[in-house]
Amino acid sequence: MIRSLHRWFGLVAAALITAITLSGTALSIFPTSEALTIPAAQQISVAELATRIQAVEPTVEQIRRAPSGRITAYYFDGDQPVSSIIDPATGTPVGSADTSGLERWLTNLHRSLFLGDTGRLIVAGGAVTMLTLAVSGLFLLARRAGGWRHILKPAKGTGDRRLHAVISRLALPGLLLSSLTALWMTAATFGYLPEGAGAPPFPSEVSGTTGIQVASITVLQEAPVGTLRSLGFPAAGDATDVFTLKTDAGEGYIDQGNGELLAWNDANWLDRVTNLLAMLHTGQGMAWLGLLLGLSALSVPILCWTGLAVWLRGRGERRGASASANHADTIILVGSEGGATWGFAETLRKSLSEQGMQVHVGPMSSFDPARWTSARRLILLAATYGDGEAPASARGFIECFRRTPVRQGLSLAVLGFGDRSFPAYCGFAADVARVAEEKGWDTLLPYNTVDRQSPQDFARWGRDLARTLGLGFELNHLPTRPKAWELSLISRRDYGANVQATTVILRFSLPKTSFRQRLTGKAFPRFEAGDLVGVLPEGSDVPRFYSLASGTKDGFLEICVRKQPGGLCSGQLTALEPGQPVTAFVRSNPSFRPARGRKPVILIGAGTGLGPLAGFARANKASRPMYLYFGARHPASDALYAEELSNWKTEGRLADVATAFSRTANPAYVQDILRKDGARIGKLIAAGGQILVCGGREMAAGVATALSDILTPQGVNLATLKAEGRYAEDVY
């Protein structure tokens, strides 16, 4: 509900709010340029200011002071009416006070789209939309983060989705303030608010005399210039006219003969609120706030764009024909929030249909075995939202699933889609799998997961499915085929041949790119250690991902690859000779890298998982405390990076290195050396340290258990660390 509100308001009003916010951003610069150019303020009274101005320009009719402190006087030069900015120190005009044509044009665009009152109402509608988007977006952010408690923690996820979350969180306060103040200003303009105190009735009785010197009017002597809004002089030759004074405190009339205050109305709360809100909206008088609001407003076009991109991608993945539910032999139900999981369902549907199966695809909320008269297989593709909650298209599924009796002859497979950097990885799918097991559903395939929409994970699960069904298909899911590059191998270092674990460190040169390509964003993308490289092996369209052991700054691209028995890609890579090319692309992985700052970092890994950790150490030229714990088989065979590690330790890029070898006289695993070093790890975490784990799934599970045992006694749990971005895994 909140999501569709957010989506449709955003789509419909994107162009409108982009126009409003861009003009708002442009306008936000004016208060600052004004603040930088106006003459210095003076601590004098209104009487003193008026006297100085009158001495220079005797025909002065009115003096106004803007919230910025800019003083303008209106007078005649001969019979030419003039308005000038005044230097309050001398009372002399220093320049024209006319608003520039550009500012006026922008103002009119911003508040009425040049359409007068109709335009003002349209723009007010834009403000309402922006307010709706900001509030609904806030709820979505909270859900995404897994609860209001986590909303300020580092954003997770990748790509446009993450960019949308990061930018909106920065801009939200400014956008809320801008849209709320805008609505107040519109209401004031159209007179929908109760009246302010306004001016007192014009005095019917005046002294009838004229000619008092402004310098000797007590009321003006007592009013500091800082509180002045305007002072009007009596019209020449009209003895019944008066001085009209407006200050922050109120407004009233002063006799031009004896200088007495004839009438006065104090400003009420409404005047004050309206003045304050106008200042908060325009930044006039608060230039710094104006700039902040301008920056926030600038985020709106970016948010519109990324929001649109996320929506389009989700939509594009939902196409495809599916058989009707009562004819299908295979039912695929999708639990998706943003729409990405539908794309996987479509890939699966296509592959199964090509094998002659009748496949029906629907949302998990449409779970109804009674209707599936011909179905023999049920496959649930379930994403998770936030803290283990059901995603949008699976609302109410789990309750319904619990109630519904098991259907004989219908076997079930559950595949979870999630992101390991979130605390509750595939929490919802795991719940579903647990319920299925408790109820005793026939198992088609054991419960499995796909991390960060990994085509590799999905293809692996697909092979299991094909084997179970006795069919030969490959699930090749490529949401968007990224632009791939040819990378040429510079060097290789071989390890582990004598422990039956051929492992190589491969170093590739970066493609040469011209300045023009860099300018147009068509160059090889920048990357850091911990990001991923997707390698497209010959003979398959499914990329295999490896964690990068170097960054752009190192000038080369490095990965560690272990030869998997029968592995297509690892076989090709480990056979690669210098000078030979591979086809690859880079994918960013911002959740797996050291957080900024100087807090300690604990790097834990085994086998080829050492790659990105070595990359972090290599990049640690600032000698931030980094502690490396890693496991290998034997020092003589697969001690990857041994030489570099000892150099980096001498140079201070690594504070300490601890190694566990599993095939020596005293075999040990990495979790063993962690436990031995528990006291130090506890201290590092207490000091705000961060843990990064890279390696195989089993190793990561062992490490997590060991860390839990170490940290639980001091009241720290891994889930909290994970939510704070202080515990991240890159496992395979």
Partner: protein, 158 residues
């Protein structure tokens, strides 16, 4: 712009307390604005008597009451009472544009010491009360008067 307003004649005649049936004739006000380079100008048209006392309003160009205080002559005379301009309000007049209004005015308004005032104001620019002040006379009909700030010239024709 061409507007015929019966209410205008009512506004004037009631304040003038003319006994019986007032004789009225059609009068056209033509106001040409200078290219003053700003947003639309608010213009208040009102009449004072021989003693300079406010008699009634004839037209208000500009729809938002919160800005009327900048038409300081009119505002001072009426206390900002929008009842004075009920039904005789139109849009503000842009820079370099012109405004033509046709009203039925009581004949007694002419050659009796009455003066027509135009106050004007533009957002973020100076207020210009009594921008134009012309006596209402039969001889003055068709004679252009010059404004001080925003009005290039003003003519009334009977």
């Amino acid at each position: 712009m061409r507007i015929k307003s019966l209410l205008a004649v009512l506004a004037i005649t009631t304040t003038l307390t003319v006994p019986g049936l007032a004789l009225a004739s059609e009068v056209t006000f033509t106001t040409n604005m200078r290219s003053y380079g700003g947003d639309g100008a608010y213009l208040a048209y009102y009449v004072t008597d021989a003693q300079g006392k406010y008699v009634g309003s004839l037209w208000m160009a500009g729809g938002k009451a919160r800005y009327y205080e900048h038409l300081s002559g009119w505002y001072r005379a009426t206390g900002g009472d929008t009842g004075e301009i009920n039904g005789i309000t139109g849009a503000s007049v842009g820079s370099g544009r012109s405004l033509k209004i046709t009203l039925d005015l009581a004949d007694t308004l002419f050659d009796a010491g009455y003066e027509l005032h135009i106050d004007s104001a533009v957002e973020d620019m100076r207020d210009s009360p009594n921008e134009v002040v012309v006596p209402l006379t039969s001889a003055g009909s068709g004679q252009a008067a010059t404004g001080s700030r925003y009005v290039a010239d003003f003519t009334y024709t009977r």
